[in-house]
Symmetry: C2
Subunit: 219 residues, 2 copies
């Protein structure tokens, strides 16, 4: 019988997956036999998966990832080689929602990336509607203080405080102060969209800057 080949994918990710599994296993100094035994699979199958000759099912991949103590996403999403530098002086501000909040994007957007970060500016008195969605997020208070409500429980965050939570929990914010607050927001889901909002403030002196998520805002 001819050597079996997995179904060809446009991006040939099955091979990437196998390479990454092998890399992680070797970094953890484990044998295939160990991984197989602990994942409830056979050593031959592990070999085939690592060499890209077989594609594991989801449950098998989950078992293998558990043995390697890595999130399954690490094997499925591999960011490309993009880099985004965002200069303070060149950030573009966007307006969201009803136009009261503005934000500046920090994260770049390259293939496979899931990390998102923006700096949010919420004006005095602003309240957001309670929402929930996929992913997780973290607030870090750059300036000012804010009330955060998660699943009905309220907390005040002050400058230097942070909060990390699963976005599926219903959450809302309220700027109970009389000053604009600035929050560094980081999350795993792009809730701010890509250029979906109008830029409202262009700090670039020439007024023609491109958005930072274009292939890096290079010096």
């Amino acid at each position: 019988m001819l050597k079996k080949q997995p179904q060809a994918q446009p991006e040939d990710t099955a091979l990437d997956l196998g390479e990454q599994l092998r890399r992680c296993r070797k970094e953890a100094k484990l044998t295939m036999q160990y991984v197989a035994d602990n994942a409830g699979l056979s050593v031959g199958f592990i070999s085939q998966v690592e060499r890209g000759l077989a594609a594991p099912s989801l449950s098998s991949l989950r078992s293998i990832a558990r043995v390697l103590e890595r999130p399954i996403s690490e094997f499925l999403e591999q960011p490309g080689s993009g880099t985004g530098t965002t200069r303070k002086s060149r950030r573009v501000s966007y307006r969201v929602a009803d136009g009261s909040i503005s934000y500046e994007r920090l994260s770049a957007n390259f293939p496979g990336s899931t990390l998102r970060a923006v700096i949010l500016h919420e004006p005095p008195g602003h309240r957001s509607e309670p929402i929930s969605h996929e992913g997780e997020e973290l607030f870090y208070m750059l300036q000012g203080e804010i009330t955060v409500e998660i699943d009905g429980e309220r907390k005040i965050l002050r400058q230097g405080d942070s909060m990390h939570f699963a976005s599926r929990r219903k959450h809302a914010t309220w700027n109970h102060t009389d000053q604009t607050v600035s929050i560094l927001w980081s999350g795993t889901l792009d809730v701010f969209g890509e250029d979906a909002n109008d830029p409202i403030q262009k700090n670039n002196a020439q007024g023609t800057s491109t958005h930072s998520e274009k292939k890096g805002d290079e010096e």
Copy 2:
């Protein structure tokens, strides 16, 4: 024939996966027929997957996720309900590497979470060894300036600047100044470990604070 059941998983994630696929599809206002056609699958299969009666292969899930325009990880890893609030006054500092760098953890650690954030303090003159690993990361300069080298290309980041890149690219930092710099680091891989390093500085007046990654550092 009895109704087919997917293999039971301890966390029954196949059902979670189907629920999430249906939720995302409805949020995008798409029919199963549309998803099936664009993913190269049958509508009956999409129905079974969404109802947890069949488990898609990795390539099928990838196709479905592409149609829904969501990262595949969104369907595979769902954070639990943890929340971590980290008060500025209660952050525990850790020492890493040769003891020269310290950091304070911001992110909590709850089931399924992949987002990590710390505040790094690099002393004057400190150079890190070039490394590469899985995931992606973002630096935001809270204070001071630093030279970052990625794949041999150097850049200086100043206060307020940020940089987002795939961690697989070889990267190193050098604090070329004569002051300690503070960086808010955010990433998708836990390169700082969980309590793997010694706490070196306890800001809690009682000196007995628990680490913030324990079930939230509640007020």
